[in-house]
């Protein structure tokens, strides 16, 4: 294999003999960075995070240093909260749970450092409700950290106090959207808030400044403190720094989770070299590169991407799907996104109508129902797709689906509107002939009853 994994966050995941208890963590140098970080001071940590160019791993890829800079702990008079988003529910994504289940103290150390850096005295770890075991693991780990003096009053005699509470999610995908999460944490329905005015950095949890970061993002903070922002930024590529956890699922020989420097490998390398190629000797048909809401990319097509040349200027290149670099900027310029790192690979046996109908069923089930276009439009799209899948499609359905999606994306309260529309826009955009064919064959082609008309 030409490309080797670079395990930073996943260093100890699945390592022989490594256990999730604090003794094992301490034996491996655990909580040493706490001492270093406390000695550096909060402002210095924030500076290093900025230098590291770390981008959020929750989906949007927003620069963490910038996010933190919206809050100045020296000026804010209200309490500042930090929330670790461990709701991981984007289909195709299964990285955060590895950390929670197998190396919880790494997350806790990253959280404590991030809290310290931002003057946070009370933090929450919002964990997906279905992770029952993970919840117990976190509670136990927090207890261990507490009894070792890493949490609570006067941590390591630094005078700094911090408490972290675990909060179990409410069993809905939308609880992962940061403002929905905040509402849920406050004990309400996870209805995302309008932004403006309710930017978490200004009016977050209990209307106080709040930082919401993904599990993986917070773990990276520990490594940034360890190696310094500049050294961290050398991993990966400019503006796409550090490592990235990739969760590969679908029609590959070796699905699983991997960690690579951001952009160090291409889609083709990931699928063929790392994951052993398409299973059963099949052919690559399409990839969803960043969780189910990312736009699907079709094999055999070329993508115009803009990349920084050696002279620093942007140059446009045409590349094949397999040659797309697995980083934020490349996938964005190819019209999709790196998202949550969930890479879903589809081979030539996959029926795109079924795939999209399946994805749409998920979104129709998960729309929180707060705002009109998403609430009504997403179920409508699902119903049309189910009808096509069941052999009752009409010629105009693909156009109508696209028009419905176009009237949702960009017009809703939260990014769920896009998350639900992008698959429809891209599947129909890239595989229109498959939808048309299915509709032309209709009746007789109503093969599998995989999607029901109602839910």
């Amino acid at each position: 294999m030409a490309i080797r994994e670079h395990r930073l966050v996943f260093k100890h995941i699945d390592a022989l003999g490594y256990t999730r208890d604090i003794d094992c963590y301490l034996k491996h140098g655990g909580y040493e960075m706490l001492k270093k970080g406390f000695a550096m001071g909060g402002a210095a940590i924030r500076e290093e995070v900025k230098k590291s160019q770390l981008r959020g791993r929750g989906g949007a890829g927003f620069p963490t240093g910038t996010k933190w800079s919206f809050i100045d702990p020296a000026k804010v008079t209200k309490p500042i909260y930090l929330i670790c988003n461990a709701d991981e529910s984007e289909p195709g994504t299964f990285k955060d749970r590895q950390i929670i289940y197998k190396d919880p103290h790494q997350l806790i150390e990253g959280m404590i450092l991030s809290c310290f850096a931002n003057g946070v005295k009370l933090a929450y770890l919002y964990i997906r409700c279905e992770f029952t075991e993970g919840w117990k693991i976190l509670e136990k780990a927090l207890g261990e950290a507490r009894s070792h003096g890493f949490l609570g009053k006067n941590i390591l005699k630094s005078g700094y106090d911090l408490e972290i509470h675990v909060h179990r999610g409410a069993g809905a995908y939308i609880c992962g959207e940061e403002t929905g999460l905040i509402e849920s944490l406050e004990g309400k329905r996870a209805y995302p808030r309008i932004k403006p005015p309710y930017f978490p950095a200004v009016l977050g949890l209990y209307m106080c400044p709040t930082i919401v970061n993904n599990v993986e993002t917070l773990c990276n903070v520990k490594h940034i403190v360890e190696m310094g922002g500049e050294a961290y930024a050398k991993i990966g590529r400019p503006n796409n720094t550090g490592t990235r956890l990739l969760c590969v699922s679908g029609d590959v020989v070796k699905p699983g989770y991997y960690e690579f420097p951001c952009g160090a490998l291409t889609m083709g390398e990931l699928i063929h070299d790392v994951c052993g190629g398409i299973r059963n000797g099949g052919k690559l048909k399409a990839v969803i590169p960043g969780g189910s809401s990312a736009k699907v990319l079709r094999a055999g097509e070329t993508y115009k991407i803009k990349e920084k040349g050696p002279d620093g200027n942007l140059v446009e290149k045409e590349v094949k799907l397999e040659d797309l670099r697995m980083d934020f900027d490349t996938l964005a310029s190819a019209g999709s996104m790196a998202g949550s790192g969930g890479v879903i690979v589809m081979d030539q046996t996959r029926d795109m109508v079924e795939c999209l109908a399946n994805i749409s069923t998920f979104y129709a089930h998960e729309s929180c129902g707060q705002c009109t276009p998403c609430r009504e439009g997403v179920l409508w799209m699902k119903k049309i797709l189910a009808r096509i899948a069941e052999g009752h499609g009409r010629e105009d359905d693909p156009n109508m689906l696209k028009e419905v999606a176009d009237r949702i994306a960009g017009r809703t309260i939260c990014a769920f509107g896009e998350a639900a529309s992008w698959p429809v826009q891209s599947f129909i955009g890239k595989f229109k002939e498959e939808f048309s064919l299915r509709i032309r064959r209709n009746g007789t082609a109503a093969k599998r009853d995989t999607v029901s008309l109602t839910h």
């Binding site: 809905a172 329905r189 209805y191 309008i194 403006p196 005015p197 129709a364 089930h365 998960e366 729309s367 929180c368 129902g369 707060q370 705002c371 009109t372 276009p373 609430r375 009504e376 439009g377 997403v378 179920l379 409508w380 119903k383 049309i384 009808r387 109508m400 009237r407 960009g410 017009r411 809703t412 309260i413 008309l453 109602t454």
Partner: protein
């Protein structure tokens, strides 16, 4: 009263330049785009936004195209040929309800994108809507109907099965919910939690299946619940009292006041062919904002009570018989003339208008009657609108010098027994028995004249009964407990031969003293404005639809305590 007042600018004089549909104008800084568009005589349609509720931005009907001043390399706005900033338009539409204006902002309320946004929202709102307008009470004042005509396409492309939801849900004592009609704007939810602090409504289920409901084991019946029927943009919430009674487009609307307590909430009477069908609050920020209590709202059915007096009654041989107005007025005058003025007491009423009370004052003055008072009606107030003072015009009666708030009246039972009071003129339908004068005492009177709209224990003892008018049947003014003078206008005429009270008093006065200078409300005002210090300089027109503060609220309170 309201935690939010989005329609009120922080500072009306702090203006910023904004461009609305190509025209630059000045508007107060920070005001939201829905309000700014409204002031610019443009309309941004909206469902969930209400100026007095928190902004949630869920309907997405108010999407507009927004721009900000284009910045040059020097970080200064680039100016166009007209010297105004050039605008960089954002590709994403924004919601007007949650966007405050800033200097140089560009607003498009009518572009192709905006039209497509509205059209989309309308299509989405209608796909799962039952479209049962023919049997819906909201028809005629439904924003869904209205906006779909204005901004929709007419035809629906939706051919799938609609989502089924509960219909005919009993939310509480007074409200029925049709969940299929609900557009989930959450106005009702926000009203109940933010305005009345009564958290009983919420949504269950997700997506298209989202359903409004009352919390398990709770029912929605606080005393302000019916306001949600007003603010519900569709026919999801209906008033049990009003539903199926009358199509709203047949209703005549008349500006009036609620007379069920001393607050005097401003109302609109909805009537048709001499019958009142509903009362709704009429916006007045100095009194009741957009709201009124359920008690006051529903307190009009007595106008059609079986006890309603529709003809003058005269007592003969111990029994009351219908008679003519001429005979009744003559009998009343005759009775009052039989005794000395010092032996007459008058029960004026805090339910009468200032105009009626003024004619009464003239009458008392000319007759030389000095014993006049009103019956206090102490009820249950609350922290919101409802006043504990059940008299709608107790303050007016005080200002006219016709009331001591019941202190004088409290001595009358003894005075009747001792023979000091021989005649009693009772107005405003007051029941003296519940006011503390037993029937046996009243029986000692030589003369008892009663005017009111309903018969009661007191009326049944009277020698003459003069049928008067209810609040919807009269025009006049009242002063509320906070010292605000307000007008009410007649919506319907009194039933049968019942008459407006000021006319009854005018005729009685003519018969008794020959005084006949007051022929109309305007006439009354001419005199009243010179005689009552607080009314000085005022006339009917000046009071206006929203009333006038004639004394400070504190002063009115003080007077009440004294």
């Amino acid at each position: 009263m309201n935690p939010w007042n989005h329609d009120v600018a922080k500072d009306e004089k702090d203006l910023v330049d904004v461009q609305i549909d190509g025209v630059w104008m000045q508007m107060p800084r920070g005001l939201n785009v829905v309000e700014v568009a409204h002031r610019a005589k443009k309309f941004l349609p909206h469902y969930c936004y209400h100026p007095k509720l928190s902004v949630v931005g869920n309907c997405r009907m108010c999407l507009f195209e927004m721009g900000t001043p284009k910045m040059g390399p020097d970080r200064k706005p680039v100016l166009g040929a007209d010297g105004k900033p050039e605008i960089a338009w954002m590709p994403r539409p924004q919601i007007g309800c949650a966007t405050g204006i800033t200097p140089g902002m560009g607003i498009r309320t009518d572009s192709a994108l905006v039209k497509d946004c509205r059209n989309g929202v309308m299509e989405f709102l209608l796909i799962n809507h039952p479209l049962d307008c023919p049997i819906c009470d909201q028809a005629g004042e439904c924003k869904l109907q209205e906006f779909s005509v204005e901004y929709g396409t007419g035809a629906s492309r939706f051919t799938e099965n609609k989502v089924k939801k509960p219909k005919n849900v009993d939310l509480g004592e007074r409200i029925v919910l049709d969940d299929e009609r609900c557009i989930l704007c959450s106005r009702c939810v926000r009203f109940s939690s933010e305005i009345t602090q009564d958290n009983v409504l919420g949504f269950v289920n997700r997506g298209s299946h989202s359903t409004l409901t009352a919390y398990p084991g709770k029912s929605f019946d606080n005393d302000y619940s019916l306001n949600t029927v007003d603010i519900c943009p569709v026919g999801a919430l209906t008033s049990k009292d009003f539903r199926f009674q009358m199509r709203v487009w047949f209703l005549k609307e008349t500006k009036s006041l609620c007379t069920s307590c001393g607050t005097g909430c401003n109302t609109m009477i909805g009537s048709r062919e001499g019958k009142v069908y509903r009362l709704t609050p009429r916006e007045n920020e100095s009194v009741n904002s957009h709201w009124m209590c359920d008690h006051g709202r529903l307190n009009f059915h007595y106008l059609e009570s079986k006890e309603r007096l529709t003809r003058p009654l005269l007592k003969a041989a111990g029994e009351q018989f219908p008679g003519t107005w001429v005979d009744a007025i003559a009998r009343a005058a005759e009775g009052l003339q039989k005794v000395k003025p010092a032996e007459i007491a008058i029960v004026a009423s805090g339910r009468l208008t200032n105009e009626e009370l003024f004619v009464l004052k003239r009458l008392a003055g000319e007759l030389g009657v000095s014993q006049v008072d009103t019956v206090p009606h102490l009820g249950q107030g609350d922290k919101f609108l409802r006043s504990a003072d059940g008299n709608p015009n107790g303050r007016g009666a005080e200002l006219l010098g016709l009331s001591s708030g019941g202190r004088v009246l409290s001595g009358w039972a003894a005075a009747i027994l001792s023979g000091k009071i021989k005649a009693l003129l009772v107005l405003g339908g007051e029941n003296l028995i519940s006011a503390g004068i037993p029937a046996s005492t009243l029986a000692k009177l030589e003369v008892l004249i009663y005017s009111g709209i309903l018969s009661n224990e007191t009326s049944r003892l009277a020698q003459v009964v003069l049928p008067g008018s209810g609040f919807a049947e009269k025009t006049g003014s009242m002063v509320n407990v906070h010292g605000r003078l307000q007008r009410m206008t007649r919506a319907i005429s009194a039933p049968g031969e019942a008459r407006e009270d000021w006319m009854i008093l005018r005729d009685l006065r003519m018969a008794l003293t020959g005084g006949n200078s007051l022929h109309s409300v305007e006439d009354i005002w001419k005199s009243m404005a010179t005689e009552v210090p607080q009314f000085q300089g005022l006339n009917w027109a000046k009071i206006g639809d929203l009333g006038i503060q004639i004394e400070s609220s504190a002063k009115a309170d003080e007077a009440k305590l004294a």
